[in-house]
Amino acid sequence: MAARPGLVAGVPGRGGGGFRRYATYRVATAAGVFTNTVFGLILVYTYLALWEARPGLGGYDQAQAVTYVWLAQALFAMLAVQGGGFEVELMERVRTGEIAVDLYRPVDPQLWWLANDMGRAVFQLLGRGVVPFLFGALFFPTALPGEPAVWAAFGVSLLLALLVSFAIRYLFALSVFWLLDGQGVGQALMVTGVFCSGMTLPLNAFPGALGDVVRVLPWAAQLQVPADVLMGETAVSGAFAFQAAWAVALLALGRLVQSAATRRVVVQGG
């Protein structure tokens, strides 16, 4: 699926009210819902053709492939798969030097941005994710579970997915302390995010060795694992362990890089 502009627009303003901030732009949200639904429609037909030519590809049947499409569209904005969350603002603050002020605040930067991004994610799941998903479930045959326990496990998996997504974007954003300009980093985030998360094709349908590699990378924790948890394609405990391991490792690495980065900050004139 095409990486597309629009999501990346950094909304000005700062602070913890990530949810309220994004909720202000109602028309933009409606436009996003429309676009996600259109892309879902296009993808659904191509996947149906693919699974018709190759039934059972990646262990999915057609209904599961359809479910995957709509799930991907629903989580696309929430998990900032192609970027466009807090990191746009963080990189800009590093570039302009405003980050120096942030470092004076009596809060931990990583937690501060995590809280900010959580607010954004919850809004985008509710505001942008639910409608395309319901549309898909209504008009196409999907494979959704009936048991509440599975949905609860899916919820946990989603939370872990968000932590991994945040941790990846935090690391990319911190690199700007050395690179000073975020444009290339943003692009790298987009390419890796769209491809390695399985936005273009479910990772379990990737062929051969490439498939083996992408399925153990942290991006697999974003979309593929929650999708498999929801559709009962994986053992829940193993899925949680995989996601949690990447979340812990990347968040810890983020802390390390953060302390190295903040030591680098030299404010003009100081």
Binding site: A2, A28, A30, A31, Y45, T46, A49, A53, F195
Partner: protein, 274 residues
């Protein structure tokens, strides 16, 4: 004001000057420019990688082989790349309306569309067109077609017509932002959605969807219909024999419609705060 020149000529001249200014400004940071072009190339190539991954698992998609789908892809992405390079900036019109800077464009003695289209002219978008034409080149060699003069000529004509059709979409989408400034993403559904849709054979999609992109939003003439002629495949929806050669007519109608929508949008414009 350049008296004595017709408005289209004047618009083109202004477009060239403004775009030239942005190109000079971009080329000041050569390394950054080279990197972003590469990034664009890669990003646009991801869609084709997805198609390659699919064909690693199957021999045909909707009955079309890899070179045939690559032909669709190449025509779609090359045409879209040209349109996006020329008119992509229109998509950010909503921002200018919102912050009031659109007013400054109105008082300049230059056609507004030329100014908006050339605004922040992004040469890095060359990446997409280049990537599309590489795939198109490979597809033209790889497909099994009995090339004659007509078929050879049809390829460039299709690319140009496709670019005009996509360009019309960009302009009409920009005009829509006079009404809904925050809705720039709706436009993406038609432009980016359109080029993505056309990368796959029409046989993949539901009949109503194909009808919609043939008769309502005639994207089908940007590649599906001419490609079906080239490959000797049946036209989608059983269109008549000459449909492959209707693309120039469709493109002219699209451009005229986009022009009308643009003028209507511009007339309805009210400055922020009024």
């Amino acid at each position: 004001m350049a008296w004595g020149r017709s408005r289209p000529v004047e618009g083109l001249r202004a477009y060239r000057l403004i775009a030239g200014m942005w190109i000079r400004s971009t080329l000041t940071y050569r390394a950054s420019f080279a990197l972003t072009v590469c990034g664009n190339l890669l990003l646009s190539g991801l869609d084709f990688v997805a198609i390659l991954l699919m064909f690693a698992q199957v021999d045909a998609l909707g009955g079309w082989t890899l070179p045939e789908v690559a032909l669709l892809y190449g025509l779609s992405v090359t045409a879209f790349g040209i349109a996006q390079l020329a008119f992509g900036s229109v998509a950010s019109l909503g921002g200018r309306v919102r912050d009031g800077s659109f007013d400054t464009l109105l008082v300049r003695p230059v056609p507004v569309l030329a100014q908006v289209a050339a605004d922040r002219f992004a040469l890095r978008r060359l990446g997409r067109g280049v990537q599309g034409s590489v795939v198109l080149g490979w597809a033209l060699v790889a497909v099994d077609v009995d090339w004659g003069v007509v078929k050879v000529l049809l390829v460039p004509v299709t690319v140009v017509c496709g670019a005009v059709i996509f360009g019309s979409l960009f302009v009409a989408g920009g005009a829509f932002q006079f009404l809904a400034q925050d809705a720039s993403e709706v436009q993406n559904a038609f432009t980016y959605g359109g080029t993505t849709l056309l990368q796959y054979p029409p046989t993949v999609f539901g009949r109503d969807l194909v009808r919609g992109v043939t008769f309502v939003l005639p994207l089908a003439f940007a590649n599906w219909v001419p490609a079906a002629y080239l490959l000797g495949r049946p036209y989608p929806l059983g269109l008549p024999e000459g449909a492959a050669f209707a693309a120039p007519l469709v493109a002219v109608v699209c451009a005229a419609a986009a022009g009308a929508v643009w003028r209507a949008g511009l007339r309805s414009y009210r400055s922020t705060g009024s």
